[in-house]
Symmetry: C2
Subunit: 211 residues, 2 copies
Amino acid sequence: MPSTPTFKRLPRAVREQQMLDAAVRVFSRRGFHAASMDEIAEDAGISKPMVYAYLGTKEELFIACLHREGTRLLETIAGAVDPAQPADERLWAGLRAFFGFVGAHRDGWAVLYRQARGERPFAAEVTAMRARMVEVVAGMLARAVRAEHPEVRADELETMAYALVGAAESLADWLADHPDADPDRTATRLMNVAWLGGAQLLSGSVWRPGS
Amino acid sequence: MPSTPTFKRLPRAVREQQMLDAAVRVFSRRGFHAASMDEIAEDAGISKPMVYAYLGTKEELFIACLHREGTRLLETIAGAVDPAQPADERLWAGLRAFFGFVGAHRDGWAVLYRQARGERPFAAEVTAMRARMVEVVAGMLARAVRAEHPEVRADELETMAYALVGAAESLADWLADHPDADPDRTATRLMNVAWLGGAQLLSGSVWRPGS
DNA sequence: GCGTAACCTTACGCACGAGTAGGTATGCTC
DNA sequence: GAGCATACCTACTCGTGCGTAAGGTTACGC
């Protein structure tokens, strides 16, 4: 039946990407456990044993998704930040890139954070990636701050970095659920509170219980 | 064999709490799917059909955990906040209570946030609880701000509230993994950046791209 | 033109774990 | 101390979905 060669034979590299695309879609809308390998295969327009042949077991497939989306996110951010710029511009560019990525890759984001964090086998992966981000942010803060304020302790900066990353993730989740929202606007707001709050702290103001 | 009546017959209300305790423990260390009803029953020192008789299916059991832990958390916070106090003291008390709770109920926290967010059937529950918290925080900010700054838009405040809640959750996760860390110290740091950053914003300072 | 390797399929085995059937013992009430 | 309700158990059924065995088909090298 020569009418429609509906299924063209494709080289491995191409099929692998199609499978990963399908996997990210299905994982993001069903969650890791509820997603079935059959559905992923069907969504990719291929049959199940191919998935096993190319990407391995379900866990390995999920890890592959995690790595691809995680790498994309990190590279997007890294590519947007110019090390020659001053710290505030770098932070701004990073936030902008981050929210832009989430807005453009909602299901990638969902897989990375909403699914992977809860599932025991992958929590470590995500934690590691988060830790890298925290480290980067803390490092940037350190370089920005240490010159004029060498008295600031490293763990203070780390705490700040955790808070910043958490705030960004929270706003990212909100953004992922509001397709009409503007990523840049979100980035601006976070930038404001973070940068101004930090500057205020450095200027010596401290809030203490008891006004 | 009268030697050890190892299994005393207990009234329903007591057993239900024991089961919930066990369920929270197991869910927190295994995740929802990897946790088996058998393991929960065993951990509670009871057999499986009892769990089904009292708490229903696995999903219902998990929801029961969610509700109990969620209610405890919200009540802890509500109980610590005195409405007669000024806004900064209320925020401080709330943060203190929040981090205190997480430090004292690590697995309850894990169930609420690390597990429930990813699993499709429960995401709604958690989202709703989060939304309530955001609403409360936003309301508090509004009351604190509107008197002197009526020009601030409601969605700006909501964004701030999201960022604050996200930052708190992130630090809470960090806290849950560092048993030696001091909840109050964490609360203080977040309080500082939030309150001072907010005040700075209100005073008219704004960060804009291009220094 | 023909082998061979890579691509792709249908159809199954099998384990694991949710939920249940049906039965036993213990305490409480009158 | 008969009756009844409640606490509790062992031992099963059965669906679901991961992972695979064994076999077809297309392209490409020589």
